[in-house]
């Protein structure tokens, strides 16, 4: 009963935030809606028993990546989105039914699987920081080191690209 309430509240917040991102005119309101989506996703991760992933979702995604987005919006003084004269209405009339059809198809494929109808138990925290660390530094050591190099390259690239021209 508590599980149902928590799930539907946070799922509703996720969908509401995502729709708000789609329909708001000013990018800063879209950014704040995306932060709400990420926070609700962290709560949903906790419901699924992933405590470490929930914590790093807030620390990394909502607390660092979205701060970067909000910074760029504030620095570039991004205004409301202007109405573009070359918006095609064909894209609207074909695009919306197409996306709806794809979503319905994916949902149909999902609910026909056999293994996704078990229930999720509330409070069944699986692994923890220790289990993730053991896996990460033994089986997944190569991807870990490679992603470290990737982030280093991304830092250097961002610094070079955003520098002022001399």
């Amino acid at each position: 009963m508590v599980h149902q309430i928590l799930f539907f509240v946070f799922a509703g917040l996720c969908v509401a935030g995502a729709l708000n991102l789609l329909f708001q005119k000013h990018p800063i309101h879209s950014a704040l809606s995306l932060i709400v989506v990420m926070g609700s996703l962290a709560a949903l991760f906790l419901l699924l028993g992933a405590e470490f992933v929930a914590a790093i979702q807030i620390i990394v995604y909502a607390g660092a990546i979205m701060v970067l987005f909000v910074y760029v919006i504030m620095l570039l003084n991004a205004g409301e989105e202007e109405k573009s004269p070359d918006n095609s209405s064909i894209a609207l009339y074909i695009g919306v039914p197409a996306i709806t059809a794809i979503v319905a198809f994916v949902l149909l494929l999902l609910v026909r699987r056999n293994d996704v109808h078990d229930g999720v138990q509330l409070g069944q925290f699986m692994g923890g920081t220790k289990a993730i660390a053991m896996k990460l530094f033994t089986d997944f050591l190569l991807p870990f080191e490679v992603t470290s190099v990737l982030i280093l390259i991304a830092i250097m690239g961002a610094v070079v690209l955003a520098r002022k021209e001399r």
């Binding site: 800063i28 914590a55 807030i58 607390g63 701060v67 909000v70």
Partner: protein, 355 residues
Amino acid sequence: MNETIKLIIFNAVKILVVTHVLLGAVAYTVWLERKLIGRMQNRWGPTRVGPFGLLQPIADGLKFIVKEDMLPPGVNKPLFILAPAIAVVFGLTPLAVIPFGPMLDAARYGWGEKAQGLQITDVNIGLLVILAMTSIGVYGIALSGWSSNSKYSLLGALRASAQMISYELSLGLSLVGVLMMSQSLSLRAIVDTQAGGILHWNIFAGLQIIGFFVYVTSAFAENNRIPFDLPEAETELVAGYHTEYSAMKFAMFFMAEYANMFSASSIATLLFLGGWHPPHPAMMLGTEGSLAYALSGVFWFAFKIFLFICFYIWIRATLPRFRYDQLMSFGWKFLLPLALANVLASGLVIALRNT
């Protein structure tokens, strides 16, 4: 009464006590700061309102409540009102995972079978929850500057949030040394590994002196306190990100700053100074699990936090502030490599101990 109702009542009592004690502490920290800084500058501080100026925070609170709360023209209304709320809420949330005292053997007092800890909730990832709350607290400042529709506010907010996210890195890395020594992210488990006398605290036995220095410096920078308070200095940027705020919203920023100070002091106490353990094990009243033991644990915890807050105030009275470029180069070019070196050295010590 069955177990669920007892549990709910006990947790509700804990939450109410912690929140009210913290908000009272925030108000009286302002009094303490004005008195101590006044004394260090050879003047009295508040003396008029009540004996020793003790009713000054109440007078200030009344002033904030009855002052006119104006919305300047051109502000982005929802963000303007939301920003101080974000700052206060995410400054107070770390209290939910901080253990104030030892486990209380509830069966002795008829409250149930399990031992209850003097902590609102003990999560396995307590340390990560605190890092997460400090990460989200940056939004309160960034959005307040942006929504104020004023150049000074925007510059102050950008500087303050850049400073906060830069020093969050060395803050997190300084905690990794403690984490390696205590082998757990749960705050109660970290405090339990520091039992024994003063020589068992993490700053001595855990060899975390450098980690302690890095943590304290990063905590000063996270709170925008002197020597790192350029974003809200009155002589530099009018008042930085809270220029356009009046009355209750300004009071909320104030409360958020002192609540952050309180959280940072309590984390430093828990991780480096032994939490609620006394300097010598004989200095506690009563036996383990009794109410007297628990209350003397809370007393030692509060005493250490009081010393920390006096240290914060002492530094404010003594040091000048950093210039912004000095501040950023100090954070990136000195503290971050030092924190990384601390992590390496702690790892080396643990590896050598285990062989």
